[in-house]
């Protein structure tokens, strides 16, 4: 067919252009500079991909452009960094967060009963507001005089000590007896908010409840965890800090990703979901949210930049000549075709590639992927097949945020950890998505790699031509404009 031929022709031209550009760069820069720059480009590309993949998944399915994605990248970095350097803060607030989330998660438990209530119209409107207010008051009471800033400060003390090798100085926490009523109150506060969210008396919301057993599972798990962490909140930090550094780092990655997933789910349920009928305001909401998150981090950890210590596997001075040697010695650099390159960056490239494979498998092989691909086109029909699309939306949003958080912790060991660190990556993520095509994860990967390479070579040329690196950064916008003019829907995007 004519159309197919054209497609093949375009692909051939694209491959030729890519090779042409790469060969041109190779012959201009010489082998060593070329390889080093390429590796740097791939590192950047991997991080861009982690940001853009989440953005594009969320946008593709829900038409939601998450302007807080960069802040979530940043939060991932902070969460991982905290866990790795001094988890006192995390363990200190975990029981509180868990208690509140457990409270929120009673929704499926109480909603079926609440919506059946017989309420007058005015009470139907008033009751949720009163419940929210009551929840807020109880919540404020619960955290009254809780020295959260002090808790956060301990982390900063700890950096100094852990980097010299000694065990971190752990901050004294509130005595258990005084602390205990906080989670209890927060659970009540969460439950009150949940009751408000459940639209009491709104008979249009009546649905067949799931079996009681299923409804109880999640709140009970969360409650058990709350109690557990209430008791271990002091000893757990020590336990973590005495672990092997590499294991601790692996755990930090998992913690950051999980944190991103939960944060994403929470945000989708409480803030995005009520606004699907007013899409314009979702954008404003996420924008406001990014503002709030950034400021919150500054309140907790001050507007400073921290340097996360690299895990032992990447920390020993010296250059390994083979991968085996690196793994044995934990060298900080490795020689690749005669070029010295930091090993941690190789790990980041690996992370990006692994996550690309993961996303590809998820989208093509899993049922969730099938639902997402179908939901992009027609969420109503997916719902009519008996699939809870709202839940899928939540999962996808959470997944997208988890990917961003993973990117954040991945970047933390070689970028300064600071409140604005996500902004630049969000920007590049946007550009990536525009280049690759909205909603296409393959496009996100291709776009991320193109952009990463462009940035790396841009920096290289900037250095050579004695320009500032900011010029190279700005030049990615030009790539975006060129792609837009040639192919408004992006490289892998589909026309409407």
């Amino acid at each position: 067919m004519k159309h197919e031929n054209k497609k093949i022709l375009y692909i051939v031209i694209a491959i030729l252009v890519i090779f042409g550009v790469l060969y041109g760069l190779y012959s201009y820069a010489g082998q060593e500079a070329f390889i080093r720059t390429t590796l740097s480009g791939l590192t950047l590309g991997s991080l861009f991909f982690l940001v853009a993949a989440g953005l594009t998944l969320i946008f593709g399915l829900m038409d939601v452009l998450n302007f807080a994605h960069g802040s979530m990248f940043m939060l991932g970095a902070y969460a991982g960094w905290q866990f790795y350097t001094n988890p006192t803060f995390i363990f200190g607030v975990l029981p509180l967060v868990l208690a509140f989330v457990a409270g929120i998660m009673v929704i499926p438990l109480i909603k079926p009963e609440l919506v059946r209530l017989k309420l007058s119209d005015s009470w139907q409107k008033r009751l949720p507001k009163l419940l929210y207010l009551a929840g807020l008051i109880v919540g404020v009471l619960a955290v009254l005089k809780f020295d959260i800033a002090g808790l956060a400060e301990t982390a900063m003390v700890a950096i100094v000590t852990t980097s010299t090798g000694a065990l971190a100085e752990l901050s004294p926490q509130e005595p258990l007896l005084r602390f205990m009523w906080r989670p209890v109150l927060l659970f009540i506060s969460g439950a009150l908010v949940a009751a408000g969210v459940s639209k009491p008396g709104d008979r249009a919301e009546i649905t067949a409840p799931e079996p009681l057993k299923n409804r109880l599972v999640l709140p009970i798990i969360l409650l058990v965890l709350t109690i557990l962490f209430t008791f271990v909140r002091e000893s757990a930090s020590e336990l973590v800090l005495l672990m092997n550094g590499n294991l601790r780092f692996a755990l930090a990655v998992i913690v950051a990703t999980l944190f991103g997933f939960l944060l994403g789910a929470l945000i989708e349920i409480t803030m995005i979901r009520p606004l699907y009928i007013r899409p314009f305001f979702i954008v404003l909401m996420t924008l406001g949210l990014s503002f709030v998150l950034r400021e919150l981090v500054q309140v907790l950890w001050d507007p400073l930049a921290y340097q996360m210590v690299r895990p032992p596997l990447f920390a020993q001075p010296g250059r390994a000549s083979t991968i085996a040697e690196w793994l044995a010695n934990g060298s900080s650099t490795i020689s690749i075709a005669g070029v010295t390159f930091p090993t941690y960056r190789l790990f980041v490239i690996l992370l990006g590639v692994v996550m690309f494979i993961f996303v590809t498998l998820l989208m093509t092989k899993s049922r969730l992927g099938m639902i997402i691909r179908a939901g992009v086109q027609d969420p109503q029909m997916v719902e009519a097949l008996g699939i809870n699309v709202k839940r899928v939306f939540t999962i996808v949003f959470a997944l997208g945020v988890a990917l961003a958080a993973l990117g954040g912790i991945g970047a933390a060991p070689f970028l300064p950890v600071q409140p604005m660190m996500g902004d630049q990556y969000q920007m590049q993520g946007f550009i990536t998505v525009v280049i690759g095509g909205m909603g296409s994860y393959v496009g996100a990967f291709a776009g991320a790699m193109i952009l990463g390479m462009a940035r790396a070579f841009g920096d290289y040329f900037a250095l050579k031509l004695q320009l500032s690196p900011t010029i190279a950064e700005a030049s990615t916008v030009i790539i975006m404009i060129i792609v837009l003019l040639l192919r408004p829907q992006g490289l892998f995007g589909k026309k409407d």
Binding site: P279, F291, V292, E295, T470, I478
Partner: protein, 363 residues
């Protein structure tokens, strides 16, 4: 002018109050017109006037044309940098060689200022066209993203060390030589009235524009682009027009802001600036013009108090307020007020009708 009094009593009263403010303040507090707290509050209001124009220009974009641009700070910063650059690097040379006086007025300085603002208009038109050319093919979230990317690129240029001799890179330009007669530190009262005049003029112009034939078409493209096309309007032309007009007003506001702060810094072109103006617009109510003005005023005064209450981290509180407004008060203060007013009116009408039906059987 009669029209404005008829339709916009609130605005006229506001202008009258703003005009009388320094005098009333000095009468009440027995303070000097040009010093102390009076001067401080004049400064606050000047800032408010300028930001109000910026916010109203943003309202033209998102409220009237329905384009959610996240790059509006580019025009604002563009105007600021144009004025600051010309005053800092071009004006001194000219003033050294030419000085024309009429009486005691230095004509050259006035001409230079006018040229500065004409240049700012030109630059903001160019920025508007650049943005339109690259972003006009796409809509909604895509558009928001693209404008943000373009604005970020400009922000990066402002911060680039390559032009440090001219722009001061990250530091920006400070102590720009603003002519004495309009200088906000020495002659604040004059500046106050000029800024007020700027606000009034900008408001009247924008009000005219949104109710002009072109303005109506712009609103039509917001409402239903396909339909507008089918009756013979090219939506791209009108959207571009709206973008450029909004850009010009933002550029002028930026120019004034540069005069007021005697500086131009990269933060004026940054996303935070756009977010600030967005908050003002949403707070007051989109598509109302008066709303953003009110929003700018509230933000100006609020930030003062929030700063004293919460210290340097006051934006956190502001951010939370913003999120709450988006959730629960999406039409902003003026929008919600108008809706409520509408409801109250309808309620009155119902009440009147009820009394009527009760009366008729008695007849």
């Amino acid at each position: 002018m009669k029209n404005i009094w008829k339709k916009d009593k609130g605005f006229v009263i506001f202008v009258a109050l703003a005009f009388a403010f320094p005098f009333i303040f000095s009468l009440l507090g027995q303070t000097s017109l040009t010093e102390g707290t009076n001067k401080f509050w004049q400064g606050q209001l000047i800032n408010f006037f300028i930001m109000a124009v910026f916010a109203m220009s943003y309202d033209l974009l998102i409220g009237y044309a329905g384009m959610l641009s996240f790059g509006h700070a580019a025009s604002f910063g563009g105007g600021a940098y144009t004025v600051a650059l010309l005053l800092e690097h071009v004006a001194p040379d000219i003033l050294k060689s030419y000085q024309i006086f009429i009486g005691s007025t230095n004509i050259t300085e006035i001409v230079i200022l006018i040229v500065c603002f004409l240049a700012a208009i030109l630059v903001s038109i160019l920025i508007g066209l650049l943005f339109s050319a690259s972003a006009m093919r796409v809509k909604g979230a895509y558009f928001a993203m693209l404008t943000l990317a373009l604005a970020t690129a400009l922000n990066l240029l402002a911060r680039a060390t390559d032009f440090v001799e001219w722009t001061g890179a990250d530091e920006g330009m400070h102590g720009v030589p603003v002519p004495l007669w309009i200088n906000p530190t020495q002659n604040r009262l004059t500046f106050y009235f000029i800024a007020l005049a700027f606000l009034v003029l900008a408001y009247i112009l924008m009000k005219r524009i949104v109710s002009s034939p072109t303005g109506r078409v712009i609103q039509a493209t917001r409402e239903n682009e396909d339909r507008a096309r089918m009756i013979g309007y090219n939506p791209v032309t009108y959207r571009t027009l709206a973008f450029v007009i909004a850009s010009v007003f933002a550029g002028l506001a930026g120019g004034f802001y540069a005069l007021w702060t005697t500086s131009a810094s990269p933060s004026m072109t940054s996303g935070v600036t756009t977010v600030n103006v967005l908050i003002m617009t949403i707070l007051g109510g989109m598509g109302t013009l008066v709303g953003p003005l009110l929003g700018a005023g509230i933000m100006q005064i609020f930030s003062q108090f929030l700063y004293t209450w919460f210290g340097a981290r006051w934006p956190l509180v502001f951010g939370i307020i913003f999120v709450l407004i988006v959730m629960f008060l999406p039409y902003g203060i003026v929008g919600t007020w108008r809706l409520q007013g509408f409801k109250i009116k309808q309620g009155w009408q119902r009440l009147l009708e009820l009394t009527k039906t009760k009366e008729t059987p008695e007849k």
